[in-house]
Amino acid sequence: MMSPGGVSPLDETREDLLREASIEAEASGREKAHDESGPMRSLLVFSLGSEGFAVDLAHVRMVLRPGRIEGVSGAAPEVIGLMNHQGEVLCVLDLRRILGTGKEKVSTSGMGEKFIVVIQHGGKEAGFLVDAVRDVTELPASSVHPVLDSVDPSRARLFEGTVTCGGQFVGLLSPSACMNP
């Protein structure tokens, strides 16, 4: 049945619901802003094996699939090699080795499923090989907790802190520490 104005009761109900929903959303946004006052940080969350890690998106230049990587003789063990990405020579590093979670040499054959996260910091740029890219998340800067005292100092220097993403603790990497040996 249509009202004299040509609007059906169904449309009226929908409009009411949408109005209420927008009021609710606005209120929840205000609440959220109140809770998460302070600067926000955008993080790229990725995984190495079962462990999760994050890096500030401000330092991430791009995420690539590994192409042909050429070995380099006389380089540190964490150097996987050099990759030609659209005429740009990129140094690809094994993040697992940098973090000390793996000592085995990365085989270039099974690399197709992985990702290279290209990080820029202090005028330097390098690609870090990771197993999977999970998410891009925005968190209040205040939610970054300091690294636990129990973590080995040589490993702790590689992290800015820890954050909770998707119910899991992930280590927030320090781009500067990861970039410089």
Partner: protein, 117 residues
């Protein structure tokens, strides 16, 4: 009255200005990576026969332009001419992680990326 004519950015039939300079490199495989040596610096290339426990390869005697040195490699691949377009600086992230002889640049060839010494 003469009218101003806007010149096209790239004139038809006229090549883009390019760097005409190039460097001839001897491309070798050291077993792990490709290396490029300035052909003008190569004094001699000697074949090293395989012996018990070693696979053999080649010995590059260098020093026509710079200090004398010898470099062992597994294979001498080809000589290539690289222009400035195919030469890039060594990525600082790699430079920081290298020991021993430091390459002066990185070359992009059809065979792959090579370090230039």
């Amino acid at each position: 009255m003469r009218r101003a004519v806007r010149r096209p950015a790239v004139a038809v039939g006229v090549h883009e200005p390019v760097t005409t300079g190039s460097v001839d490199l001897l491309l070798v495989d050291d077993g792990t990576a490709l290396r490029g040596y300035d052909c003008r610096d190569v004094v001699r290339v000697e074949e090293v026969p395989a012996r018990a426990g070693s696979t053999g390869g080649y010995l590059l005697r260098l020093g026509r332009l710079g200090p004398s040195r010898e470099v062992a490699c597994r294979e001498v691949i080809v000589s290539v001419a690289l222009t400035a377009r195919e030469i890039r600086p060594v990525p600082p992230a790699l430079r920081d992680r290298m020991t021993g002889e430091m390459p002066w640049a990185v070359g992009i060839t059809e065979r792959g990326i090579c370090l230039l010494y």
